[in-house]
């Protein structure tokens, strides 16, 4: 029981970070029908921003993280939107998919070439202490990751539902024509969505990288997990992406412990196929009114 609880909690912790990437993924989809195949690399990169600021420039960790956050919002948010997504909106979904695949490759290669092809140790933000809850040993880092990731998503949800800007963003995502008639500045709202995605990626990056090493190839798995979480939960809902992320985190940890290690990766895939075939709108999703 204690072992199960331990697995469950570390699964939730990893899952909450996946959820950050998945939420960003669904936001982009809603706002501009962008399927971002570089989402994994978006999460991989900010950790290297931090490393550049701390290791190469000698800045303290806290400042480095703030700077990395800004840089991510700027590059992965604004620049991505302006230079790649915006000129391609009229081309349909597929060319943009290809462009984001190429972008992911570009980012990977740049990190490999200009920083290092080897995994880099990345400082953890939290002490390596272990606490005991109901007999299960929980690391403080896991717990803190969970709290920060969930907190971020809750703040985002509050922003979207309680503020005027947030509601305008939601209106834009659900029905751009009507939003336009109501006087919403659609372009700006879509831009905000991209900025938020940049920020989410940076937060996810700082939280998840200490668990592994910082490596150029980290995005491959992360991107896949974000897709699966988004689809399983419901492609058009933040709550869905959250539930999907947590579910994938827990399932991944459980199958690592109880299913054969070789087919561990297949479990989320089978779940994905099952969900798409049985409930394509996802666990919490509603059927999309918009023609896709």
């Amino acid at each position: 029981m204690a072992e199960f609880l331990q697995i469950l909690i570390s699964g939730l912790s990893a899952g909450s970070i996946y959820a950050l990437a998945a939420v960003g993924f669904t936001l982009l989809w809603q706002a501009s029908q962008t399927i971002n195949f570089a989402q994994g690399e978006f999460v991989m990169l900010p950790a290297f921003f931090v490393l550049v600021f701390t290791v190469k420039m000698g800045l303290p960790m806290s400042i480095a993280i703030v700077l990395a956050l800004f840089l991510s919002v700027l590059l992965l948010g604004a620049l991505f939107k302006k230079l790649i997504v915006e000129p391609m909106l009229s081309h349909g979904v597929l060319p943009l998919v290809i462009a984001t695949i190429a972008l992911g490759l570009l980012m990977k290669e740049m990190v490999k070439e200009f920083y290092s092809p080897l995994g880099q140790p990345f400082p953890g933000l939290f002490p390596h202490d272990v606490m005991s809850i109901l007999g299960a040993k929980i690391s403080v880092a896991d717990f803190a990751n969970f709290v920060i990731a969930m907190g971020t998503i809750i703040i985002l949800q509050l922003f979207l539902s309680r503020t005027r800007t947030g509601r305008c963003m939601q209106a834009t995502a659900q029905n751009p024509e009507v939003a336009k008639i109501l006087g919403v500045d659609i372009k700006r709202m879509v831009m905000y969505t991209f900025l938020i995605n940049g920020a989410l990626a940076a937060i996810a990056s700082v939280l998840i990288t200490p668990i592994y090493l910082a490596k150029f190839s980290n995005g491959e798995v992360l991107g896949l997990v974000a897709f699966i979480a988004a689809i399983v939960g419901g492609f058009n809902q933040i709550r869905g992406a959250l539930v999907g992320g947590l579910l994938i985190g827990v399932i991944d940890n459980l199958s690592a412990a109880y299913v054969s290690a070789e087919y561990r990766q297949a479990v989320p895939m089978l779940l994905l196929i099952f969900i798409i075939m049985v409930r394509p709108q996802g666990l919490l999703g509603t059927t999309e009114g918009r023609t896709v």
Binding site: M88, L94, L96, I98, E113, E220, Y263, A266, M277
Partner: protein
């Protein structure tokens, strides 16, 4: 086929025959690789470009074809048997993969096929007794035809060229047959197609089955070409690479995948002098291409042609249209 087109095809084949003469083995190997990937990309072009069904699993079919051919040739049977078995098996598995397409479309279909590719990869890696696991299979013999060995790189090139031409002809035949028209109709407007008597379910499944069989055929070439296969060669990233070939060349155009495969396989060789930067330059060029010409290189070519020629045809149409 117009006369000009026929002349172009004959010229192209002549170039393909002469191209490897006097080249180093490595260059010939790269050209074989290009022909092989062209066949795989042709299949995806049928599924995606012509029939409009997204698939991110083409590399897994190349893999299935390669493993089947390897196992059969390693067991001592002739390569032709392996080739037929590879095409047959991938056709049937492709039909099965097509079933989800009857329920879901677009990005959902993309993710189902993506998951399929990952599962196939895991099977290759984990079923060691059959596939050799992470170590893969080694030492597949190169086939012999009527006493002619293909061990020599140049002979193997002509063997690959013949298979490529057969595949290209079959592909050309299919897309120009009424089936090809039905595939396009499925892409353009499935509901209208169904109301005109097109059995869209059957056509969807066939688009997957045939497209995947081309993947299997490419795998059958790959096994004796590289003589070493391992699961990593058929992972998701390679499916994305084949997708890249199709879209960069021009999805839905006959010559698109061949051009796209050339760009993906041969261009990096030319960019090799840039050393570590070549993948970066390459990725950057792809992004720029997609921004400016979503129809790929062939679309770009058409755009340039249209700009060079004054647009009389459009005018003529508008005048006559106004009469109605």
């Amino acid at each position: 086929m117009s006369r000009k087109h026929l002349f172009f095809v004959i010229l192209a084949i002549a170039v393909l025959i002469l191209a490897p003469l006097g080249q180093k083995n490595y260059i010939i190997y790269v050209m074989c690789s290009w022909l092989m990937f062209s066949v795989a990309a042709m299949g995806l072009n049928l599924t995606l470009g012509y029939a409009g069904q997204v698939s991110l699993a083409q590399a897994s079919f190349v893999g299935i074809g390669a493993y089947i051919t390897s196992l059969i040739t390693l067991a001592g049977y002739h390569w032709v048997l392996g080739w037929l078995a590879a095409m047959g098996a991938t056709f049937v598995i492709g039909l099965i993969l097509g079933y989800p397409a009857l329920r879901v479309q677009h990005h959902f279909l993309a993710f189902v096929t993506l998951a399929f590719n990952t599962i196939v990869f895991l099977v290759f890696r984990n079923e060691e007794e059959i596939t050799g696991g992470s170590f893969g299979l080694v030492g597949m013999p190169r086939p012999e035809f009527f006493g002619i060995q293909t061990m020599q790189q140049i002979n193997f090139y002509y063997f690959t060229l013949v298979l490529f031409l057969i595949s290209a002809f079959v592909f050309w035949w299919i897309v120009n047959s009424p089936w090809g028209r039905a595939f396009k109709a499925l892409r353009e407007n499935p509901i209208r197609a169904e109301s005109l008597g097109v059995d869209t379910r059957r056509i969807t499944l066939l688009a997957f089955g045939i497209g995947c069989a081309f993947g299997g055929g490419a795998g059958a070439i790959m096994a004796p070409l590289v003589q070493f296969i391992e699961p990593g060669s058929f992972s998701l990233i390679h499916s994305l690479k084949i997708l890249l070939m199709v879209v960069v060349g021009g999805a839905g155009f006959f010559y698109g995948p061949m051009l796209g495969a050339a760009v993906v396989i041969i261009l990096p060789e030319f960019l090799r002098f840039t050393e570590g930067y070549y993948l970066m330059i390459y990725a950057f060029l792809v992004i720029v291409l997609m921004v400016y010409s979503p129809n790929g290189l062939i679309g770009l070519g058409q755009k340039l042609m249209a700009r060079l020629k004054p647009q009389q045809e459009v005018r003529k149409d508008m005048q006559k249209g106004a009469q109605l």
